[in-house]
C-alpha cells in the first residue's frame, strides 16, 4: 500500500509540514468526514536541521496531520516525509 506522504519545507527557524495532495485525496476517500489540519509549523528558537527532530516527533507530526493513530497510520503503509521539489526523503517509517 502507498504510504502517507508528508511534504516538508525547511526554513531557518523551523519547518512546515503538510500532507501531499495525493495523500489528502486518498485519505478523504477512505475516511468519512475526515477533516485534517492543513499544515503544521514546528518552530525552533535557533537555527536547526532535521537531525534535531527525534523519531517520536516525526510520528507525532504524522498523527497530528492525519488525525489517525500510530497503528492506523502503519496499517495504511506507514509514512514518508519528503521535500516536494527535489523529492528528497528526509524521514520514513514504512509498515513492515
Amino acid at each position: 500500500m502507498a504510504p502517507i506522504v508528508i511534504e516538508v519545507g525547511k526554513q531557518m527557524n523551523g519547518a512546515t509540514f503538510r500532507l501531499s495532495p495525493k495523500t489528502e485525496v486518498l485519505l478523504s476517500s477512505r475516511i468519512p468526514n475526515w477533516s485534517p489540519a492543513s499544515s503544521i509549523f514546528v518552530s525552533f528558537d535557533t537555527q536547526w536541521d532535521f537531525d534535531r527532530l527525534h523519531d517520536p516527533m516525526w510520528t507525532q507530526i504524522a498523527m497530528l496531520l492525519t488525525g489517525l493513530s500510530e497503528e492506523q497510520i502503519q496499517n495504511l503503509g506507514g509514512f514518508i516525509f519528503m521535500s516536494p521539489f527535489d523529492k528528497e526523503v528526509v524521514f520514513e517509517s514504512r509498515a513492515a
Binding site: 511534504e7 516538508v8 519545507g9 526554513q11 512546515t16 503538510r18 495532495p21 499544515s39 516536494p84 521539489f85
Partner: protein, 158 residues
C-alpha cells in the same frame, strides 16, 4: 511583448493588487529585494502576515471572451513555507482590469498534482486562462470560485 513591456505590466498588476488591499484596510509592504514575494500584507493590530505573489497578464481577445497566460515557477509552487504564499493572477485588457484570481499556493499545487492544471515548460507551470460570459477556466478546471476571492482580507473599518 518586450521584456521592458513585461516589467511595466507586472508592476501595474502589483500596484493594482496593493491598491485593492489598501482600499480594504490592510497594510502592504514591498520587499527591498525581489526574491520571490511581491507584496507583504500585514494586519496592523495583530502582526499577521501574508506573502503574496502577483502574476499579471494582458488579456488576448478571443471570438467570445479572452485568454491570458501566466508562468509560475515550479520550485516556488512546490516549496512549503510558513506563512504560505498566496498567488494573485491579475488580468488586464485595454478597457481596464478584467479580474483578479486569488489562490493559495497549496490550492494551485493540488490543482496541478491532482487535476493536471496547466502545462510544464522549462521549470515553470504555464497556465492559460480563458474567460467567457459563463466561465473562467484553465485546463478545463473551473476558476470561478477563486475569481475576486478577497475573503482572506475582508474590508476592515479603521
Amino acid at each position: 511583448m518586450s521584456r521592458k513591456q513585461n516589467l511595466y505590466v507586472g508592476r501595474a498588476g502589483q500596484m493594482a493588487v496593493m491598491a485593492e488591499l489598501l482600499w480594504r484596510g490592510w497594510n502592504v509592504a514591498l520587499p527591498e529585494v525581489d526574491v520571490g514575494e511581491d507584496v507583504f500584507v500585514v494586519k496592523d493590530e495583530s502582526g499577521e502576515l501574508w506573502r503574496v505573489q502577483v502574476k499579471t497578464a494582458t488579456a488576448k481577445p478571443q471570438q467570445t471572451g479572452y485568454s491570458a497566460q501566466f508562468k509560475v515557477s515550479l520550485k516556488q509552487l512546490e516549496t512549503l513555507r510558513t506563512p504560505d504564499l498566496v498567488y494573485i493572477f491579475a488580468i488586464r485588457s485595454l478597457a481596464g482590469w478584467e479580474t483578479f484570481i486569488v489562490m493559495d499556493r497549496s490550492t494551485l499545487h493540488r490543482e496541478h498534482e491532482i487535476h493536471r492544471i496547466g502545462s510544464v515548460s522549462q521549470g515553470n507551470l504555464v497556465l492559460r486562462v480563458s474567460q467567457d460570459a459563463s466561465f473562467l477556466r484553465c485546463s478545463e478546471r473551473d476558476l470561478l470560485p477563486y475569481e475576486g476571492d478577497w475573503s482572506r482580507w475582508p474590508v476592515l473599518p479603521h
